[in-house]
């Protein structure tokens, strides 16, 4: 019969889940104020927006749905907050999932009210586009012809003051995509080579390791690494919002993981020792 130490090798998964649940809830209720270092990736996004030409428009592309809103929503929020703080014009565009345009628009409307941003004058929603490649190719040539009307009032883009002087992707200051998918390949392949606008990406944490290749090559100027990236951005903006709070449960969950890995290995070691003893004795 195995002793309690050996049982650490195979703790029932339900116990693991229960402990994790408790830790996440406690972490959300009692945030631990710890300093968060800002990495070069988040700083890259920040500097791209900070140095954007005010005469140009910023494209905020979204490709996420309710499932990944835990990470993608704070990322979209901090980018929009920065744009509004800098009083930069921006356009929302959505791909992949029709939910994407609704969720991003709700965020933009909420922040626009707080920052006195006027629809049509300071920002615009180009809406959801099913054909990613066709749309991106079109943006390179002629934005008005490709998008035609906005998604809220369904009026021609050329009627809006926010679109004055904006013809194609060369009139874009920054391209930022918040995404739960690998859509960066389309942007890099079809758009980024045709403009000087820096391209920034805000993926979910799972996807982030894949993007270091493009950060390293300079094709991407910055990246927000999941919710941690959003928290770093909040720090750069000097905000202590929900994202900064949410970093506590993330940290505690990983600490739990370290503890469990340690216990699992100790249990394995104990079992091996017992087996050796058994073989010798």
């Amino acid at each position: 019969m195995s002793n309690p130490l050996q049982r650490l090798e195979s703790i029932d998964r339900r116990i693991l889940y229960a402990v994790l649940l408790i830790i996440v809830v406690v972490g959300l209720l009692v945030p631990i104020p710890l300093p968060l270092a800002v990495g070069p990736q988040a700083r890259g996004v920040y500097e791209a927006i900070e140095n954007a030409d005010p005469g140009k428009i910023v494209i905020v592309s979204t490709l996420w749905s309710a499932s990944t809103q835990g990470e993608n929503s704070p990322q979209t929020r901090v980018i929009l907050q920065h744009l509004m703080r800098k009083r930069l014009r921006f356009a929302l565009i959505a791909f992949g999932d029709p939910q994407s345009t609704t969720l991003a628009q709700e965020l933009a409307e909420e922040l626009a009210r707080e920052n006195s941003y006027e629809y049509g004058k300071d920002w615009i929603n180009w809406g959801f586009r099913a054909d990613i490649a066709g749309t991106l190719k079109g943006l390179v040539k002629d934005i008005n012809e490709t998008i035609k009307t906005d998604s809220i009032k369904k009026r021609p883009l050329s009627e809006y003051p926010v679109m004055q002087g904006i013809h194609n992707v060369k009139d874009v200051g920054v391209i930022a995509e918040v995404s739960a998918s690998g859509n960066y390949v389309s942007w890099l392949g079809l758009v980024v080579g045709s403009t000087n606008a820096p391209f920034c990406y805000a993926p979910t944490s799972v996807m982030a390791p894949e993007l270091y290749t493009y950060l390293d090559s300079g094709q991407m100027k910055g990246m927000l690494f999941g919710i941690k990236g959003a928290a770093e951005y909040e720090r750069l903006l000097g905000i202590r919002g929900f994202t900064t709070r949410a970093i506590t449960p993330v940290s505690l969950s990983l600490v739990l993981l370290f503890v469990l890995i340690g216990l699992g290995n100790y249990g394995m070691y104990a079992a091996k020792k017992r087996d050796q003893k058994g073989a010798n004795g």
Binding site: L16, P35, A66, Q99, I247, L257, F258, L260, G264, N265
Partner: protein, 269 residues
């Protein structure tokens, strides 16, 4: 552009009742093609499938490789890209109908024969009907928004959130010091994870962020180094392999060289 004009005059834009006549003629044409294909002997059908596959692939290859007019960035095939895209979308829409039919057939049979779990099938079928009716007829109502935001969004978010639990149990099982490689992998993973969170960063926060050799030992810097210098080249290498593998299989499918594959097996029947 001549090809565009030629096609434009051969198939002028239909309007009024001509739209319906065109649709009817297209549907009839499809029926004729369907029966003609059924009547063809295996060898001829195989040749036809290979020819259509080749021509469809050739369109995109030719559009990509043929020189373009520098002013418009288009060649004589570019105008047709959206149309071909629409054709593909229409085909996909038809297959969605087949997919829904499969779902309804399997679950409908389950309900009718009261097989085990038929109650779940009733909920599924009701869900399909209610969501479809709400989306088609009541899109601007609170009812639809509630279904969309309160039900669908919550379910989606809940499923994604379960990943946190699964990651814990998977990592707990996987990170065991069983060999030198596994140990190396485990420590690399621990450093990367520690470098991503404030608690980990706090351990070495007293070291300078940059500008000195001591900064190299900060956990966030080591984590970044691992991600950029170790992880990125590995992903790039896998990416090269995948890209070439994808190109090879695409070539085989395009030229119908995929022996023993389903299309050929079907044609031989």
């Amino acid at each position: 552009m001549n090809l565009q004009r030629l096609l434009g005059s051969a198939f002028p834009k239909a309007s009024g009742s001509w739209i319906w006549i065109s649709i009817l003629l297209a549907a009839l044409g499809c029926v004729v093609v369907f029966f003609a294909l059924q009547a063809l002997p295996g060898r001829a059908r195989k040749f036809l499938i290979a020819a259509v596959t080749f021509l469809a692939g050739l369109f995109y290859a030719a559009e990509f490789f043929l020189p373009v007019d520098p002013k418009t960035d288009e060649n004589f095939l570019t105008f047709a890209v959206p149309t071909v895209g629409n054709v593909i979308n229409v085909l996909a829409a038809f297959t969605l109908g087949l997919g829904v039919f499969s779902l309804v057939r399997i679950h409908g049979t389950k309900v009718v024969k009261l097989r085990e779990g038929w109650e779940n099938s009733v909920v599924l079928l009701l869900g399909i009907v209610v969501m479809a009716v709400a989306g088609l007829e009541f899109e601007d109502t609170r009812f639809y928004r509630s279904l969309f935001r309160d039900v669908l969004n919550s379910f989606d978010a809940a499923m994604f959130a379960t990943l946190a639990f699964f990651i814990i149990s998977a990592a707990y099982r996987a990170f065991r010091v069983k060999s030198a490689e596994a140990t190396l992998l485990m420590f690399a993973a621990l450093i990367v994870m520690l470098g991503q969170i404030p608690i980990g960063q706090y351990l070495t926060h007293w070291l300078p962020e940059k500008g000195s050799y001591a900064s190299l030992f900060r956990l966030d810097n080591i984590s970044n180094w691992l991600l950029i210098t170790v992880n990125a080249p590995a992903i790039r290498a896998i990416g090269f392999g995948l890209g070439i593998g994808g190109l090879a299989i695409a070539m085989r499918l395009w030229l119908s060289l995929e022996r023993g594959a389903f299309f050929e097996a079907k044609a031989d029947n």
